[in-house]
Point group: C2
Chain length 459, copies 2
């Protein structure tokens, strides 16, 4: 549905107030896209402030049968928040309050529109720590993080969003407001609806409040940058580090293509190399020193020609500058990227990296690989120019081949970005018909009229 009739417009204004809903083309443009770069104009955008308002909007959508697309910051990489079938974008931007940070019980209660980085900042001020740290943390929201089960570099040691969501307030696709989970560290009364919601990409409900687990803030962190001439030696070192007994908080790999792009298109000081590992350890100051020394030893034994180290904020910012410079630099290689976040068992990281190189060469496309190698999660960026149909076709062929390789290596086609619309054509490579049928039946049970975020995951 791409335009609302006057009845719907009036009903939405009645529920939300005229200021908190828009049907104007200019404003709607802002709610038409995400990080995939594809645009779909909705018929309207709504800005509810309470669960009750969300519930009333949902009930209206069921009555008039229009799609509702929940949206945080629209920073997703798979189209999860795009209104592919029109309808109403339901933005959580006004539900942006940190309701409480309980430093006695290490929990926070927040609304979905809270920006991840803002929460991080607030909890750190209380000596606490919320580990999930997607690269977009400066603007992405907790609601979006929950919808996609966002990860980030620190997932290696600390896990992903799912591991920190204790409970939810959710508006179901039929309008009921329910609470799931508990405010305690454990709870097994009935089915785990909380974890069913997390990662369901806004198709099973709209989160209107969440209780998050926090942990104690580590006393110290220390960063290392290990430089390898050979990408293979770099990739092989990932598992060697983990098998040494070290558990870094982050263990990021940056391949030669990414390094070259950073060196060419940014002023970040980065050595010429076949591959880099960017490593962070945290804990008390004594144990981080020991762990960093152990990791440096493993890297050197594995072929690192240089290992830089920083234990102060400034030095760490410099080292991490390289990682942050990758995405902007890659855009200079080609205007468009197909950003996939495959995961393999970590003993197969080297095989994946090598295989991706072969695919790039055979298909004549540029592929930059980097990311959370420590948990086997590599961001494979296939760089293309969409205005060149042949190159786009080769790019898409590369995506399929990367997925096939990943699955052959015992992996999964998405570690933290979700399926959205981007991976819909590929889920049958990973899931059987029986599993898809079961998931579709769950969707139908929750959302009999199919109003919530249609076209996602299963199409």
């Amino acid at each position: 549905m791409h335009r609302f009739d006057d009845n719907i417009k009036k009903a939405l204004r009645d529920i939300l107030g005229a200021d908190n809903v828009t049907f104007s083309g200019d404003e709607l443009l802002c709610y038409s896209y995400d990080a995939t770069g594809k645009e779909f104009l909705p018929a309207g955008a709504a800005f509810p402030a309470t669960a009750l308002e969300v519930s009333e909007v949902i009930k209206l959508a069921n009555r008039f049968n229009f799609p509702v697309i929940p949206r945080g910051a629209g920073s997703g990489f798979t189209g999860g928040s795009t209104p592919v079938r029109g309808g109403l974008v339901l933005s959580t931007e006004r539900m942006d309050k940190i309701l409480s940070i309980d430093s006695e019980n290490f929990i926070a209660t927040v609304e979905p529109g809270v920006v991840n980085g803002d929460l991080q900042h607030e909890v750190i001020a209380k000596g606490l720590f919320y580990p999930p740290d997607p690269s977009s943390l400066k603007f992405c929201t907790i609601g979006g993080n929950i919808a996609e089960c966002a990860g980030g570099p620190r997932a290696l040691k600390y896990g992903v969003t799912k591991d920190y969501v204790l409970g939810l307030e959710v508006v179901l696709p039929t309008g009921e407001i329910i609470e799931t989970g508990t405010a305690t560290m454990k709870g097994v009364v009935g089915y785990d609806l909380t974890k069913l919601m997390v990662g369901s990409e806004g198709t099973l409900g709209i989160v209107t409040k969440t209780t998050l687990k926090l942990i104690a803030l580590p006393e110290a962190t220390r960063s290392l940058l290990a430089v390898f001439n050979s990408l293979k030696e770099c990739a092989d070192s990932v598992n060697k580090i983990l098998l040494s007994g070290a558990l870094p908080s982050t263990l990021e790999l940056i391949d030669g293509v990414s390094i070259k792009a950073v060196r060419t298109y940014s002023d970040t000081a980065l050595p010429e190399a076949g591959g880099l590992l960017l490593i962070e350890v945290d804990g008390d100051s004594e144990s981080t020193g020991r762990e960093a020394a152990l990791i440096e030893k493993v890297c050197r034994a594995g072929g690192a020609v240089e290992v830089r180290s920083a234990s102060d904020k400034r030095g760490q910012r410099e080292l991490w500058g390289a990682r942050r410079a990758i995405s902007p630099s890659l855009k200079n290689l080609k205007p468009d990227k197909l950003n996939e976040d495959v995961v393999v068992p970590r003993s197969n990281i080297s095989a994946l990296i090598e295989g991706v190189g072969v695919i790039a060469e055979e298909l004549g496309v540029v592929i930059a690989s980097f990311g959370h190698a420590g948990d086997g999660n590599i961001h494979v960026n296939i760089m293309i120019d969409r205005t060149d149909p042949d190159e786009e076709a080769r790019g898409l062929k590369a995506v399929e081949e990367v997925f096939a390789l990943t699955l052959k290596l015992g992996g999964t086609i998405s570690g933290e970005h979700g399926v959205g619309t981007a991976k819909v054509p590929y889920i049958r490579m990973e899931l059987t018909e029986e599993v898809i049928a079961l998931m579709k039946n769950i969707k139908k049970l929750f959302d009999p009229n199919g109003i919530l975020n249609p076209g996602k995951i299963f199409n």
Copy 2:
């Protein structure tokens, strides 16, 4: 269904072989009870060896409409594995193989009938660690642990069974064999069926294989026993320890009633005390030393009159002897116990302990509280003699009051034992009708004929 007709018996023998199914009363007695002590005789017991056999049994059950009750070791505390409506107990005792322990990727693949302690033993031999450690680990099975989402003392630092289940092979209640999850540390393709299955108490499917996450084995452990004259000071010290920045692997509280029972009925050397904290820290040998010293300091500042410490196996066994002696000793107080495993936000542990004392006094029942105080999970044991109907009635009244108090304190009525049949009368104290309706609809979607473990969770 309490007796099978000859058609069903023949069909089961055809599927499993005559040796792997029994209908004999004597043998069936062994499959009629769990740790609640209640008995329900099934019509038969089956011992399949493969997912395919499980699937065929399930299809038969759908055709002839008889209940199937999955069973591990029958060590549950809430009746989850009891055949309350007769039917066929499906024991996983022949599916007891550790299929692989992959020390490169820190994962294990096991069948459901593997005993938790056996798995622990095997992974430790490879320098790895599977943290979930229910008290019954010497005989409880991984399949049962998954069904109930078992915890244990180490859940404080390491989480519960759910946190270690990466993937499952499951026979659905309609007979399809599906695989859920991945063999990788991350994966977000479709809904999280894995975590929906864990803790579903055998009502949504029968696990026939699982891939478990392992972690590196900590280098060292150190145990402390802190002795308090005042139970309140003991309970208050729990959160003080956690707020100090320490994160022990276990932090168990033992109340005065439990201590007295141990001192009276076992030969464990235990000081007279109002409360004890039994604490374990793990990590490298230097950090465990520092962490233990910090905790000792906090305990002494909080009123501990004595703190014993042990870093060697023998000394640790001695300290832990007290914890292990509680359950057998309590049986001497009264023949029956109502064993509840409530959880509160840990800042309310003291209020819970105090409130339980008031309930015990007002109702004139003996209540022994001990357990995983570090995550707010206290085992409240209401000791009764069922042959005394008045005492039983007061015991049940105490259960209800303990639950009401727990919920008032922001908690949940079960942290790791599940609902089973024991807590069915109470779930409406915690869950709303909307949530129960949703859960029941999920159950119906998975199991339209209601053949799998009927009478559990919702009745």
